[in-house]
Each structure stands twice: as C-alpha cells, then as structure tokens.
Symmetry: C2
Subunit: 348 residues, 2 copies
C-alpha cells in the first residue's frame, strides 16, 4: 500500500494509430519443479492473490479424498470442477450432475450469482424472464467439487466456503505443499465467489504448476490426482472455460502439452508437462486483456510447434464498432527481448 510504482516492466502495449495508447506492466515467473527459475521478469517475490488460476489445485481434495471415485465422477464433472465456465447449458448440466451424484442441491452453492459469461446463455435466461442463479456463476463447478468433498468425508457441507472449514483447511495445506510456500493468514483475501484466496509469490506459483504437470516433487497420490484432473481438462476443454474462450482454445489445440488457466485481476498460470515447467503471470492493474497475449508469447517461445495453433491469440486486434482494425495489442520490447532469450535458451 505504498504510493510508489511497482517497478515491473511494461509487458503489453495497446496501440492505436502510431501511438501506444495504454500499457500493462506485470511480472512473470517460469520455474521447474525444483524451484529453478528459467525466467523472472519483474518482481516474482511479491505475494499476489492467485484467484481462479489455481482451481486445479483447489480441486485436488476432490480426488485425494476419494470423493471422485465414490461418486464415480466423469471427465466432464472433473473438468468443470477446475473451471471458470461460461454458464452454458453443458456447464450447468455438468455441475448439476456433480451435485446430484453427491446427493446435494443447488441451494448449497455459496458462490453467489452473476449473469453467465456466455452471451447466448444470458440471452436464453432473459428470454425466459429468469435471473441467473449460483449455478451460472463461473465458479459453480469448483464449489460443487468442494461440496462433494465435504459430503464424502462426512463433514457438514454448509459453510464449506469458510476459511476454517476442513475442506478449505485441506485446500490451503495442499497449495502450501504444492507450491512449497507458507501461506500467511494475514495475506488471505476473500475471492469473488466467497472462498479464501491466499497471496503467494509468482515464483512459488510457477513451481507449483511445474509440479502439477510433471508430478515431480509431489507425493505419488497427489501426482496421480493432478494427472487425473489435467487429463479431464485436456479431454473436455470446453468444460474448463467455454467456446471461443482462451483456455478452451489453448487446451484443445495443445493437449496434452500445455495446460492454462486464467483468474481474475490479471492472473494466468500454465503448465508445460513435457518440459517440466510452470508459468505464473500477474498484470499489475488486473487487466485480463494483457494476460492471454503474454501466456501465448511464452508458450510459443517454449514450444515452437505451438506457434501456428496460437496464431489467433498472438495477434491482438483492436477493432472499432464497425469492425475496422484501428490498433493492436502487442508485446512490449521488454517482453519480446525476454521471449527471444527464452527461445534461444530452449533451443540449446
């Protein structure tokens, strides 16, 4: 809470005409499972809230507790438990099915309601003269997973979202172990969907995602749980976000070589299982429009054969309301230089 600038480099520029109209600073860490940093751009030690980018970690107890087996959850239900979904019919049905298998009702969801991310789903609700419900909240799958875990363990499901509920305590311990970092209770915030979010450094987050993807440095049952969740997300990419959205596009195009997951306030994480690397990014101002370009640039630098599949994500057009191109969203010089260095290090 100082008045000083973060000092992080500009990563993305929004260009109109010949001028950079707006710019996004930020920091990014790329790490292996042992915590060796392949890239540290900006301040990767300052704790940031990971928000929805770590939903796959928050879903680990669903597997580790045995709930997923007991309730015979399918790939679609596991994928939606890791999702920031669009609230489309397929998502709502997967969450309903997950809840039903755990003998729970929609009314248990504590995430609050918002209009679906999907415009089609929003229009459908409006046509039906309905309001959105908690199940349309992009986090409802994660919440259903937490509820199913509580139910399976014989815990009171009501209050599952509170920091002192055993399911949340379990999740905090798993994040701490996976990222090899102490979670400071004074650095806990409440997420938009009412569950705790603990601030941790990008460096630690990147290491956690390296471990999730490769299994290295994780106890065997956790490595297996992570593998099962990633497999579900790669198998059902539309359940992790939704049609037309970044994470779904990347998961579909690059499975099983690249897992990505965005969160609110400019956070995005990724895991490159074959390379044993994890990536964690925070845009300082919280803008989403910068994150997807940065993640795409990094993935394309590390997996050259992915560049073509990502081309639509690497060219950020700025259009006017008539659809004419009037600018572009582009990597900054600092990011381009870092990517060049990364690509040549990778090629060695």
């Amino acid at each position: 809470m100082t008045g000083a600038d973060s000092g992080n480099p500009v990563l993305v520029e929004v260009i109109r005409g010949a001028l950079a109209e707006s710019r996004h600073t930020g920091a990014v860490a790329i790490s292996d499972a042992h915590g060796r940093l392949m890239l540290a751009l900006g301040d990767v030690e300052r704790p940031i809230y990971p928000r929805s980018a770590i939903k796959a970690m928050q879903a680990l107890p669903l597997i580790e507790s045995g709930a997923a087996d007991t309730f015979a959850l399918g790939e679609d239900e596991l994928a939606v438990a890791c999702a920031s979904h669009s609230g489309d019919k397929v998502h709502v049905e997967a969450v309903q099915s997950l809840l039903a298998k755990a003998s729970l009702e929609e009314s248990y969801l504590a995430c609050g309601a918002h209009w679906p991310i999907s415009e089609d789903a929003t229009r459908t609700l409006i046509w039906a003269r309905e309001r959105p419900r908690a199940i349309h909240n992009n986090c409802s799958g994660k919440h259903a997973g937490m509820l199913a875990t509580a139910q399976h363990l014989g815990l009171e499901p009501r209050g599952y979202e509170r920091p002192d509920h055993p399911v949340q305590v379990m999740i905090a311990r798993i994040i701490s172990e996976t990222c090899d970092v102490d979670l400071d209770p004074s650095r806990m915030g409440i997420d938009g969907c009412s569950v705790p979010t603990f601030a941790l450094p990008l460096r630690a987050l990147a290491r956690g995602f390296a471990r999730l993807g490769s299994g290295e440095g994780l106890p065997p049952e956790r490595a297996s749980a992570a593998r099962r969740l990633f497999h579900a997300c790669f198998s059902e990419p539309a359940h992790v976000a939704g049609e037309g959205r970044f994470d779904t596009i990347v998961l579909r195009a690059l499975a099983p070589n690249c897992f990505t997951k965005g969160g609110a306030e400019g956070v995005h994480c990724a895991s490159l299982p074959k390379l044993g690397l994890g990536i964690a990014l925070k845009i300082d101002d919280g803008a989403k429009r910068g994150t997807e370009l940065v993640i795409s640039e990094i993935v394309a630098a590390l997996i050259p054969e992915a560049r073509e599949a990502l081309s639509g994500q690497l060219d950020g057009e700025v259009l006017n309301w008539r659809g004419t191109r009037v600018g572009r969203i582009a990597p900054s010089e600092a990011l381009r230089n870092a990517m060049r260095a990364l690509a040549s290090e990778r090629a060695r």
Copy 2:
C-alpha cells in the same frame, strides 16, 4: 513503444483483504485558462488520445456553425451531442429528434453498433428479438451533431466521420485552438466510433477545459457556444451518460460548479467554471475503475462543500457475488499527499 515503465505514480489501489491486489498508475494535470499548472502528477507532457472525454469540444461546431439555432435544438439534444449515453429510451429519442430536425435518417450514423450500456435497454432489445443499431451506440448523439453541422453547412453528410471531411477539419482546428496546441497528424488515431482522435498532452487538455468552463482566453462566440453546451449538460445530466453513471451523478449533484466527462481507455476530464480550472487525467492501463475515484478526490479537494455529494463516489467498494464487501478501491499514498497539498493551496 518502448519496453520501459511509464514512471507515472500509482494513483489508485484495489485492495482485497489486507493487500493491494492491483494498482493503476497514471498522470493528471490541473490548469487554469492561461496554462498555469496547479498540479502536475506524473508525465503531463506525453500526448494521449482524449477519446470521448472531449465530446463537448467536438460539439462546438454544432453551435458555432449556427446549426443548433437553425434546427432549434433543445437542451436534451445538445446534451446528448456531448454524451456517452447509455442507449436508454430517452437517449435514443433525443438522437432521433436531433436527426429529424436536420432532415437526416439513422442510416447516416457511421458510429457502428454495440449493445446499449444500459442493462435495461439491452434486455428490452433482447425481449424484442432485436439487435442493437448505431443509434444505441453511446456516441450516436455526437455523430448526430456532426451530421447536423454538415447538413446545415450544405456539406455532403456521408463521410462526415473521415479526417478530411470539413466537419472533422473544423473540430480539429477548434481542439487545437482551445487547448493551444498543434495537433500532429502522425498522432491521429481512429476512435471506437470511427471519427479521428488526436493525441495531445494532459497539460493542454486541462487548459482547454479551464477555458471551456470559464470562457477565458476564448473568442466570444466560442465562449458563448461552450457556455450553451455546459448549460445543456447541467440542465439534462441524464442525457450526458445515464442513470446510475458517474458523469450524470456528478453533473446533477454539482451543477453548475463541476462538469465532468469520461472517455475510453482511462481518460477523464473536468472543468470547474467558478474556479477557472480544468482537469485532465489518464490512467496508463486504460482502466475506467480508477478514473472516477481520482476525479472525485480532486473535485472534493478543490470544492470542499462537494465532498458530501461525492461521498458515494469516494468510497469504492469491492463486493463478492453475494454482495459482501471483500475489498475497496482506494486513493494511493501519492494521490492522497497530492490532494492534501491541493486542498491547502486552495484554502490559502
């Protein structure tokens, strides 16, 4: 287009729990009509695109040309010509009326279509199974004003949005004269609504707004035109933005002591006619959520009796989807220090 940080100070912090989760850097200038700076926070010399913040300047030819008199435009029509409106019924009707008085049809509008800013208006269109039209574009009033100007002057209205159309040439000259700055054609961009936007320094913009409000330093007919537009906006504040929106709230609460107008990509300008001051702000990353708090803080520092009316704008809550407060949007230390200095300078 360098990779370097802007070096501008953090103005606004978004706080969750005990941590600043995101932050917005930016620059702000406060000037009198003579170009004397009362405040320069950050880089106020770098040219920025003013976007919709200068719609009142872009509407000056509508008055100066005599079009407003010939077509007997009312306060609502003049206010909507200066507006980024919500696309509600009142706005659409005012634009239709403006066009009808100039014997023009909706099809002349070149601004492109987008869903109304107003959720009610959007729902109404969806219920009617309609798509938004150009008239729902928040800029349609500005465009109707440009068209009426062309019509009155006997110019071809088609193509009125192009940089070389006489109406746009006239507007560029007026901006240049009012802000006392040369407009560099190499620093012209195309706005979201397809008309030109010329980059100019915040320092010059602030001076222009000081002149618009006080009339000082303007030729008499321009001072009179600006007075008429401000009077229209103060009389019909709901036409300048829409119910529940910042500029409408401030215009309604503080008329005739404070005119404010926001633009895309984090720009906001204001004029304090009685104090003879103009204010121009740009948030580097283009986020709107920072601008309204900064403008409110500045206005409250300069007009102490406005603080109560602005209290709802000074307390930026961050709510989760259940409506619980989980954070806040707050002025940074740098901004708070600058505001203290400003208030004491003002009190002297």
